[in-house]
Point group: C2
Chain length 304, copies 2
């Protein structure tokens, strides 16, 4: 599908893309570039590329696809480094969680003959770094592409085929719409999880150790996404501020109602609120986006 | 260990206890009682007892252990039905999430010669009903017992041995302390999860279907505990109000700080807050209360 793919950034997502490219034979060669020596050495040990460079300009030379998988606040600096080395006719894409920002930063110094097709695979785990990657990460997940309407149709089709070959379903969407939808499906849940785990981190040591012990009663679920990469998430909140704050306002308004129901002991209201939430999980399972097994299929008993 | 155990209520926990009793041969016979005909019929089909009764008084006659596994607001009515039928020397226990309330309700009409040892196994899944039960649910989890200091020591030792035989670790604790710890480990997380899933339930249909599609980006984690039994949770919030509201106040104070950091674009503060939460997950994994596998061990790729 491609001659040479340059992966700029090689954490969980970049590494998983590399495994997926190999699994489906989507490129003759993969060039890996990342800012830190130690990460590049790890990528080398894992065999994630055919060649490796600290300077992203070296990686993009001769590449017909350049895929940026770095925290979104790094895009401006990366673009500064690579823009004059991008090949004519190449596709420039990314996997970042905030698409308006991707358009702004990657579109700024974009050569006329390079096709910008920003993307966002809706997949991940709480683990980070090149060793966390695996080819199956994108299977049956969605990947959202947010190209400008006037971008080359062939480039968009090629990126659609690329993500399909990685196992994903593909949806085209306006960047602003993407950022609003992800604010509620992803950004607010992460903020809330970070917040509740942070609240626990502030408890006295005694209570904290009891929280750890008794975490199977609910709390541990939140610790998973609150264990996600701090820099990546800092950048999400800095670049999708408006949509996140809007969703947080809605969440807080609902929580105020729930708080009032607890305060006044309004059992009828509480039961009604708790009853309407089961259906959504059922829909997610039916949509193939969640396991139907109890407790996420966590091991129990001897398998633990 | 016991001659006859009466299980009053036969949902996820009651059914799992039944399987666990059978697995470890802890009683000569099990009597099952539950309020609804359909649930009792399901328990019968599943073979969860040796005899079955709608009237809990029938079940407790001759039982040396009576274990209540019903929503906590039902305790008063159950006690009214069974108190005069409890055997001399029997142990009365429960599995409810709010222990001060358990003491108040089960202690009220308690015959002098019955030993009250309230308990709370810190285990569960999002599924409910007798068919959701399985013997391994309590393996390597904690069970908290909150007996009064003046209760018969032999009865407390026997309940400790009982939960150990079901696979659990046992801890003795003051009822009020239990209710405060569980407010943060369990009750607040459930309230927050119900709330965020409720916020999504209020979105327009278009956005809601996108949330379902893209839920793997974080949201779906919250839908698990928000799919828990509505009546059980209504009762928890009605009976542990003070501790829940106190923890909610802490959570809201922290969220206000986080909101301010997002508003002002304070990347340093955000990164600092997001960095201190990873360690807590690590502690939970080290304590054997969570799987070390990525993504809770959810299936990926072909296993999905």
């Amino acid at each position: 599908m491609f001659e040479k793919i340059a992966l700029i950034g090689i954490g969980l997502i970049g590494a998983s893309v590399s495994h997926g490219i190999r699994r489906a034979h989507l490129a003759k060669s993969i060039a890996v570039s990342t800012r830190r020596e130690a990460t590049l050495a790890a990528a080398k040990r894992l065999g994630l590329g055919d060649n490796y460079a600290i300077d992203p300009a070296d990686a993009v030379r001769g590449a017909d696809l350049v895929l940026i998988s770095a925290p979104v606040m790094a895009y401006e600096a990366i673009m500064h480094q690579i823009s004059s080395s991008l090949e004519a006719g190449a596709i420039l894409s990314d996997v970042g969680s905030v698409k308006r920002h991707a358009h702004n930063m990657l579109g700024k110094n974009l050569p006329d003959n390079v096709h910008l097709v920003p993307g966002h695979p809706i997949a991940g785990t709480e683990q980070s770094g090149p060793s966390a990657g695996f080819a199956e990460l994108f299977d049956n997940r969605w990947c959202v592409l947010t190209p400008h309407e006037n971008v080359d149709r062939g480039a968009v089709d090629k990126m659609t085929a690329f993500w399909r070959a990685l196992g994903s379903n593909v949806e085209l969407m306006d960047a602003d719409h993407h950022d609003r939808v992800l604010a509620i499906t992803s950004h607010l849940p992460h903020l809330i999880a970070y917040n509740i785990v942070g609240t626990v981190a502030d408890l006295e040591t005694d209570t904290q150790s009891e929280v750890v012990k008794f975490s199977a009663s609910g709390f541990r679920d939140f610790t998973r996404i609150a264990a996600s990469d701090p820099v990546m998430w800092r950048d999400v909140f800095l670049t999708n501020r408006v949509a996140v704050l809007e969703m947080m306002d809605r969440f807080l308004a609902d929580l105020t109602k729930l708080q009032a129901a607890v305060k006044s002991g309004d059992g009828v209201a509480l039961e009604a609120m708790f009853k309407r939430t089961r259906d959504i999980r059922r829909s997610i399972i039916d949509a193939g986006q969640e396991t139907a097994e109890a407790d996420f299929g966590r091991p129990h008993g001897k398998d633990m």
